[in-house]
Amino acid sequence: MRIASLELTKYVRVYVIIIICYVLLLTILASRIEARNFMNYGTFDLDTFKAVNHSFAALFTSAIPFTIILNICNEFSNGYALKLISNGLARTSYCSFKFALAGALSIICMVLYAFVILALVSIERVTYFDWTIFISSLIQVLIFSMFFSSIAVSVALLGRSWQSALLFYYGYIIIEGIIVLRFGETVSWVKYLPVNLATSIFELKATPEKFSDYLLPAGVIIPFCLVIVWCAYHFFKKADL
């Protein structure tokens, strides 16, 4: 908790708030154009759920990783991270601090999600509300936000310059997106690509129904994340800073 609050003190800056609000508003606007009933006619239904989840997917796949990458790379470019490490902070501790930040942001994201859904439910006319979807989405916000934030932290620790880290992170997401767009209908394994899998589950496009349906996504997403985190730890420990 102490580490997370320290990291949040450094993380919260004006540009971070602006980027997060900008991405959220942009996604909400896009959702309103796409699903006309979202926050439009004062009705809460399954489409509203999907639209809110779509906005939060943009938040934890794009906005938060973007700010995490900028935040960490800024600490390297002005030498603050090096100051901490050269004055006795272990490199592994520095990595752990950043993963603690990722965890804290995921929890904040989850709380924000619960707040938005409950606020909409309380102010709009509810025609559909499924507690199972709500609870599972809440858990998914936490897990997927952790997943994307951890990857962003890893990429930032590996690249240590915002140009290379952003290129790597968004490059991968864009390439995966292109593959899904091009081959999504014809090739079956494409739907198991980690980023696409996580967002499609969260946006209620591919809803797991029984326990075994969760095993395959977990089997893809968790190892993918662990490999990247392990690589970041390993290379950061040995890198010339």
Partner: protein, 233 residues
Amino acid sequence: MEIRNVSKRFGNKQVLKEISFSLDEGKILGLLGPNGAGKTTLLKIICGLVKPSAGEVILERVARTEIATIFEDQRFLGHLSGIKNMKLFMSSIYGGHSSLVEKFQEFGLNESQNVKFKFYSSGMKKRVDLMSAFVNGKRLYLLDEPTNALDIESMNAFNNQVISLKNEGKSFVIASHHALEMERLCDSFLLIDRGAIVGKMTREELLHNFISLESAYGSVIHKPQNRKNYLHS
């Protein structure tokens, strides 16, 4: 502390070539050399920021957490105040912090402790750097250009602080271009040029052979034929 045959190569560029020396407790070693000679890289290797390509750094009875460093290219966070920065720094490294208000007074920064770090002058930034190095008792101090941008009063305070810590048995490696200050503080000198040691001398040897550190520097760095005479200390 002992440095054994440390070499460092960045790509094709050989930055350090088989550097060896040792430093006893309570001693101050001065590193001198032209820009790009490899002084900062050497200090970064000692504190573990940069890994040597060959050779080793042996730190006897000195844990990594007992090393304090100051480097020119390492700054605090500009969007936070001086005191907030120090609190975060202390909490990150030591897990907590004592009252820092007295420290800010001691370093002449009590009026600007709540000002954002980016608005500090170069001298004030340097004073915060020095505070971060001296705030907790360390055993080894690696200081790269510690007095750049300091006014005369702060420079004198720095010198007094170094001498007092030295008397407590703390060791220092200082890289600086301020020959007069180095001459006053250091017990021994290491002259580096193009990544290699070109001269090693104690203060006694310096005073015996030269009129000042500046003349020793000129004689060894600019006249390679003299170097073999000053490599044996």
